[in-house]
């Protein structure tokens, strides 16, 4: 039997691109070349990875830190940088309270330090820049979405792109100076003078779905599970098809 099984129920978001099995399995040495503070709790780490095979916006990697006794900790992190041929990639990490890996990055790491990465991984959340994209993120959930925004700019793409980003306050808005007309920040605790404070709501999402580009939006949602649940329900309520909503939840 070579027949391919098709489930009687429809999914949900097919994968978008093929993934290189080889890139996904080989650990490479990465060297920190630059550390930039983004907010009081988040910083961007630029890594030189000479054999990096490239990635698409939205993909992530697996990162490994190894202690002197051989103990290793590995975590998935989204890529923040747009694809380019510089041999460098960037990650933006929150300093998680008691975080074993993020704690090392935020309190110990300095340029010249080496660690290991493998990837890029998973084509599911990738955005090649081909379809109109509606991006919704909260907190550091904006990281893979920023890779998409940067890609859009770097390539001068004309395909429509919109970003809604939810954050507690202007001080905690990652990449705050980089956003342009494509972005609407939603402030949940404190906002600049004249900007309303409140949770992301139908009023933010509905107008974007009422004014869809030809072919409709491909929606990408990234954030905590609670935010992802909330945002995906807003999208469904506003008419976005469930099989065109891709979700990356922080575990």
């Amino acid at each position: 039997m070579t027949e391919t099984f098709t489930p009687p129920t429809r999914f949900a978001v097919p994968g978008r691109i093929a993934v290189s099995d080889q890139a996904a399995t080989v650990w490479q040495t990465a060297t920190i070349t630059e550390i930039r503070r983004e907010t009081p709790h988040a910083a961007t780490f630029r890594l030189a990875v000479p054999d990096w095979q490239g990635h698409l916006p939205g993909q992530h990697l697996m990162l490994r830190l190894t202690a002197g006794d051989g103990y290793a900790a590995q975590r998935h992190y989204s890529l923040a940088s747009a694809p380019d041929d510089s041999g460098h990639i960037e990650l933006t990490l929150d300093h998680v309270e008691g975080g074993e890996v993020s704690g090392w990055f935020h309190t110990v790491a300095r340029p010249g330090d080496r660690l290991e990465v493998r990837g890029p991984l998973s084509g599911f959340f990738a955005w090649p820049g081909d379809r109109p994209a509606l991006l919704i993120g909260a907190g550091s959930g904006v990281v893979p979405l920023m890779s998409m925004v940067r890609h859009h700019r770097a390539r001068g793409l004309s395909v429509p792109l919109r970003l809604l980003v939810s954050v507690r306050s202007p001080e905690e808005l990652i990449y705050g100076r980089e956003y342009g007309a494509e972005t609407t920040p939603v402030f949940t605790r404190s906002a600049p003078h004249g900007v309303p404070v409140g949770r992301m709501a139908a009023a933010h999402v509905a107008p974007l779905l009422a004014d869809q580009p030809p072919g409709g939006w491909e929606a990408y949602v990234c954030g905590s599970n609670a935010f992802a649940e909330h945002a995906s329900r807003l999208l469904v309520s506003a008419g976005q098809p469930v099989d065109r909503i891709r979700i990356e939840r922080f575990g």
Binding site: F5, A24, A67, A73, H76, G123, I245
Partner: protein
Amino acid sequence: MNVTRGFTGRPRVDDPGLPPGQYDAGDDWPVLSAEVTPELAPADWTFRVDGLVEEPRTWNWEQAHELPASAYEGDIHCVTSWSKFGVRFGGVSLDAFLNMVRPHVAATHAVAYSHTGYTTNLPLADLTGGRAWIAWEYDGQPLAPEHGGPARLLVPHLYFWKSAKWIAGIRLLDHDEPGFWEQNGYHARGNPWEEQRYSGD
């Protein structure tokens, strides 16, 4: 080994229950589904077993609950590197369903699929012999929708992406056929003790 300067890791005990590369998530139970959580009421839930079987069959919520109850108490392991110790699930052993449909001897693999259309593949041997469940209770309570409620597949000896949420059915095949994450680079089997995370591991 490539030691990272200044990295010591969290204080650790040599826990034989923790597969390589995993950490104890404690009370946390992260949610990592890629799709929108479906609104699926128990009255709308069905579970089907077909493919290479003598008698394909579909159970509804009441019919599935008439089968002998079976619980799992033990650990679960997610490929994203968290493990959770001492969890308690209640439901029915998958053996109870399979015994009723009578698999062909030619059946070697299975594709499990969800009411959302999510798929994942498993060797049939990983689903039999008291190693897999259809679970609808967690810690004595109905399983929450974001964790796969009203009912999910539970295959705790493999990475948890194999334990399909919102389980709708299992089709038995005479060949292996990659599911959703397996087509996206994940390993065909996913044994946490062998660190079978990605295709090629």
